[in-house]
């Protein structure tokens, strides 16, 4: 009997298999549970692919999107806000892959390992964006294609992220038409444009750190530079000119010379270091990566690449981050679309140094001088503005892309911005005006409180 009885321990093989499987299952639950729960067929929190739980609000508590009765999700009551925040919020079908409805679905669903999705009411997710600022930005773009991004350079919170063309998710137009070309793309983070002269700031940063006598130099502009058989045309005939003025008037001749002197290697290194050629993270969203192709040493292409033409491309969000670093003493705060609140708000925001404090300081002086010298302070009333324009030639007989990027230092308004107007023409007049409209709204809402 003893022997037969002892053989019952054979059952332990099965017992251990079960215990092992239970442990593996629990581990999987801990690791993959969130992904499993957020499967769009999960009827506990989804109906017809739409989340049944969780409310999306802007930073001031204005409801952007909430679950409605019977599965459909409700957007803001205001058509303008629905349209302006569409790309930040996302559409019902999930075609806008970077929309908050998709990206922050786990937060909205209120998933946790301990309570799952109980009680299926989801959670309130406060985005960092300001719906009113977005509305102002979308209005200022007035139907032109492009993007506006504004962020707090101290905290990294994005206050405004607008992409045009957009549409009212409650009255979806015919998106096949030319007017709505690429309407599902959030141009602020998923597109990369030829930067034009804004890129001169990269060349400038490299020059400040690599050419000791930069500020003592005098450049000569005869309306262009001949390099081999090619000619790099300038925007004007600037004569003898300092680096300060060269940036203010955006002198191609001076920056072509600097580019050739610095070389493709150095320029590429700086473009990368400043985060312009690689994808930048906004929480879990990866922005489009830019491009800087090394041209042959001593070539006109190299000169063009140093002034933001040739094959250069930059994503507006990456440009914004570069401006944030200049404004913040060289440290770029990590971008986020979630409002910082609670204990998180008390901790210093995570950041990364991409410029030395010294270089940032020198650049800020030049950016301020730009506005004073060339852009006209009267065009930006009340703004303590630091900026650079870009008018990027795109060829094909089309108008150039208009860029305007920089930051303001008004009290309680630590905002950096990047504006692109596709085929908008002059950077200063097209993009500058849009930036002014948004920044005026920002100062009205946050300044001098």
């Amino acid at each position: 009997m003893k022997r037969v009885s002892r053989r019952t321990t054979a059952l332990f093989a099965l017992v251990w298999a079960i215990v092992l499987c239970l442990l593996i299952f629990f581990t999987q639950l801990a690791v993959k549970g969130e992904r499993w729960a957020l499967f769009s067929a999960n009827g506990n929190i989804y109906a017809g692919g739409a989340l049944l739980a969780g409310t999306l609000l802007d930073r001031s508590g204005e409801i952007l999107n909430e679950p409605g009765v019977g599965g459909a999700r409700l957007y803001s009551d205001s058509r303008e806000i629905r349209t302006a925040t569409l790309h930040a919020v996302g559409d019902a079908q999930g075609n806008i892959g970077t929309g908050a409805l998709k990206v922050y679905a786990p937060k909205l669903a209120g998933y946790s390992l301990i309570s799952g999705v109980y009680p299926r009411k989801g959670e309130n997710v406060y985005l960092s964006i300001d719906a009113q600022l977005c509305r102002a930005a979308y209005k200022a773009l007035s139907g032109r294609k492009g993007a506006v991004v504004v962020a707090n350079y101290r905290t990294g919170e994005i206050y405004c992220m607008v992409s045009s063309p957009s549409f009212d998710p409650l009255n979806v137009p015919d998106l096949e038409s030319e007017k709505y070309e690429g309407a599902y793309i959030n141009r602020a983070i998923s597109s990369a444009y030829t930067p034009g002269s804004v890129f001169k700031l990269v060349t400038l940063a490299a020059a400040i750190e690599n050419i000791p006598d930069l500020f003592e130099r005098t450049f000569t502009c005869d309306g262009g530079v001949t390099i081999g058989s090619d000619y790099v045309k300038c925007t004007g005939r600037h004569g003898a000119i300092s680096i300060e003025d060269a940036l203010a008037v955006s002198c191609n001749s001076a920056f072509a010379e600097l580019s050739l002197e610095l070389g493709a290697e150095t320029l590429e290194r700086y473009a990368k270091q400043l985060g312009l050629t690689e994808s930048v993270s906004i929480d879990s969203i990866k922005t489009a990566s830019g491009q800087f192709e090394k041209a042959g040493e001593g070539s006109a292409d190299l000169a063009w690449s140093g002034i933001g033409q040739y094959r250069d491309t930059v994503c507006p969000a990456a440009m914004l981050r570069f401006m944030m670093a200049i404004a913040n003493g060289g440290k770029a705060a990590d971008l986020t679309l979630l409002r910082r609140s609670g204990i998180k708000a008390l901790l210093p925001p995570p950041d990364k140094r991409i410029l030395s404090a010294e270089t940032a300081e020198k650049m800020s002086v030049l950016l301020s001088y730009n506005v004073y010298k060339s852009y006209g302070e009267a065009n930006f009333p009340g703004l303590e503005l630091y900026a650079k324009t870009g008018t990027a030639e795109v060829g094909g007989g089309k108008q150039p892309h208009a860029w305007f990027a920089g930051y303001i230092t008004n009290e309680d308004c630590p905002f950096a911005f990047a504006v692109v107007v596709e085929n908008g023409g002059s950077g200063r007049s097209a993009a500058g005006a849009v930036a002014n409209a948004v920044l005026q709204e920002a100062v009205r809402r946050y300044g001098n409180k």
């Binding site: 019952t8 499967f39 506990n44 799952g116």
Partner: protein, 617 residues
């Protein structure tokens, strides 16, 4: 009518807006797993504190005057440490002889092909021989006097027993658990509440206490395995109430049938001789049932494993599990005869083959694992078991090449998320729902998975996770592991290897089913669609689970604990009245229909193999 109106008022009240219900639902999620844990821990303690209490059925008196008790009906005597009567005499073989009692009280000695031989009162024993009180056994020259236990001695021993475990306290917890769970289901259903759900839970509570009463009426005290089974059946009732509320009452009716089957089978097992004699009948019945199933079965949901008689559908394979366990179990004298094992191998092959023909590969696998456990229990031969596994693997590959939907299941295995709208449809939803529940669940009746096909059977583990939480699902598994603990713990003192093998086989069936059901549904193992014992909705499975439980109950030899065993005192009393006159001529072992022939070459028991399964020296 008045009753009807009262219920409607109740449903309207439940469906109404009331802050209490919200708070109740939120709170009960945490209370239920705690109660479940308390119930299972109490059961575990009750099993553990009842230390293996060895019965004593007789003695062997040694030359030095010491008395060695015979603690089972089947005892081996030898030099080996694993012998039941372990004697350190160099002339003894490691497994020298077996001293075996049948259910009439007659004792026999078997020579296990010892070197020194076995003599009774000086006469050499060829094979086996009956012995009676006072006979002198000579094993390899060692003289032992055989002394049978008298009723008086047994009675004295009985007075020194540990007190009965207080099962009713655990039952109070179980009743509370059932009430809270049932009320939660009512709240979740709201105004749509069906009367059957309320009634089914009331009936469940009543049935739990009535069963306990019945056990007490039989003057038995232990109720651990029944408590565990009622706990699991309560989870099953909740699953039915949430997925098909209109079936709630019917399911409870089936549960009553299962409990009835449990008591019936347990009572039947009391008489070992009768149980042994019925083995072949039951096995033949099982085979017949499967044959009818193969020929006349209907195909519901893929496999042709359903039989419809008079509008009533059931799965014969579930009941054949009981026949399988019956056929596999054997008393020790049969373990010496290989022929019995070969017969069983043929029977198992027929069962597994029939199931494969029906396309029910999940159940075929369940039978195969039960077969492996029985084969190992009987032979102790790991090599043979390993060979069987190899053979089965080859057969499995063959099956996959013939039946494409089996291959499909294996292709989906671990890749469910690749085809969430195809072959991985059920598994992905099961995983998603399981994750939704977290540790404490969304609340009974509040889940969504029930709308997915076969959620209350094949995906029931995920349903438990979703509605009652991962903790409860894990506790459901631990509840079944308790039955294994019970079996292993008490089998050391069991009367006959028949009970031990049967209980182990029943455990093996439960375990493999849990393994395949729970972890197949969440894509850790291939998705085979077997049921979760006691919990999955369905008639045949529930009744069969309760039936198998009777085998587990029968290995508990604590005094007055298990109703599936006749009390020792009563055995001895009845024997004292009509002790068979010891036969002077060549006695014949008649413990079963296998008459023992001296020159039967089926007796090729190999003491060496018997010895080496647990090498200890």
């Amino acid at each position: 009518m008045q009753f009807q109106a009262a219920f409607e008022r109740f449903a309207a009240f439940i469906g109404g807006e009331c802050a209490f219900f919200g708070a109740y639902s939120a709170l009960v999620r945490y209370i239920l797993p705690v109660l479940a844990a308390v119930i299972l821990i109490r059961c575990f303690q009750s099993m553990r504190t009842g230390e293996q209490e060895f019965e004593c059925w007789g003695y062997l008196s040694l030359p030095n005057g010491a008395r060695v008790p015979l603690r089972h009906w089947e005892n081996t005597v030898g030099r080996s440490k694993s012998a039941d009567v372990h004697l350190e005499y160099p002339t003894l073989s490691r497994s020298h002889a077996a001293v075996i009692r049948d259910d009439t009280g007659a004792w026999f000695v078997f020579d296990l092909r010892s070197k020194g031989g076995v003599f009774v009162n000086g006469r050499k024993v060829e094979g086996s021989r009956q012995i009676k009180n006072g006979d002198i056994l000579s094993l390899g020259g060692v003289e032992l006097a055989f002394i049978a236990v008298t009723p008086k001695e047994a009675k004295e021993e009985e007075t020194a027993l540990s007190p009965a475990p207080r099962a009713w306290v655990t039952l109070v917890f179980l009743t509370l658990f059932q009430a809270l769970l049932g009320f939660q289901l009512c709240v979740a259903a709201g105004a749509a509440l069906e009367f059957g759900v309320v009634l089914s839970f009331l009936a469940l509570m009543a049935m739990t206490w009535l069963s306990y009463l019945l056990v007490r009426l039989m003057r038995r005290t232990a109720f651990e395995v029944e408590t565990v089974a009622f706990f699991l059946s309560t989870l099953g009732a909740a699953v039915t109430a949430t997925s098909v509320p209109s079936d709630a009452l019917r399911q409870t009716g089936i549960l009553a049938l299962g409990v009835f089957a449990y008591f019936l089978l347990g009572f039947f097992l009391r008489d070992l001789g009768r149980a042994v004699r019925m083995r072949r009948v039951v096995a033949a019945g099982g085979l017949l049932l499967l044959a009818v199933n193969v020929l006349a079965g209907t195909s519901l949901f893929g496999a042709k494993n359903w039989l419809s008689i008079g509008g009533f559908s059931f799965q014969p394979s579930e009941f054949v599990k009981i026949a399988f366990v019956f056929a596999g179990a054997a008393t020790m004298d049969r373990l010496f005869a290989r022929r019995n094992l070969y017969l069983f191998v043929a029977f198992a092959g027929a069962c597994v083959g029939a199931l494969a023909l029906m396309g029910d590969f999940g159940t075929a696998l369940v039978f195969f694992v039960a077969y492996l456990v029985i084969a190992f229990m009987r032979s102790g031969d790991l090599t043979a078991v390993a060979l069987s596994v190899g053979g089965a693997a080859a057969a499995g590959f063959l099956a996959m090449s013939i039946k494409p939907h089996i291959a499909q299941r294996f292709a989906t295995w671990r890749h469910a998320w690749d085809t969430p709208f195809g072959a991985g449809y059920q598994q992905t939803r099961a995983m998603s729902a399981a994750a939704s529940g977290g540790l404490f669940g969304l609340g009974a009746g509040a889940g969504w998975l029930k709308s997915v096909f076969a959620a209350n059977t094949d995906l029931v583990f995920a349903m438990l996770c979703e509605e009652l939480g991962f903790l409860m699902a894990a506790l459901a598994i631990f509840a079944l592991l308790l039955l294994v603990f019970y079996t292993v713990h008490f089998s050391g003192a069991a009367r006959s290897s028949f009970y031990v093998i049967a209980a182990s086989a029943a455990c093996a069936i439960f375990l493999i089913q849990v393994l395949l059901n729970a972890f197949g549904s969440v894509d850790l193992l291939p998705f085979t669609g077997v049921t979760f014992p006691f919990v999955s909705k369905g008639g045949s499975s529930l009744v069969a689970s309760w039936g198998l439980l009777a085998f587990i109950k029968s290995c508990d030899t604590r005094k007055n604990a298990s109703f599936a065993l006749r009390a020792q005192k009563r055995y001895l009393k009845s024997e004292a009245r009509h002790v068979p006159e010891a036969m002077e001529d060549e006695p014949v072992w008649d413990g079963g229909e296998d008459t023992y022939d001296e020159d039967d070459d089926a007796f090729d028991f190999d003491p060496g193999a018997f010895d080496d399964d647990f090498p200890e020296e």
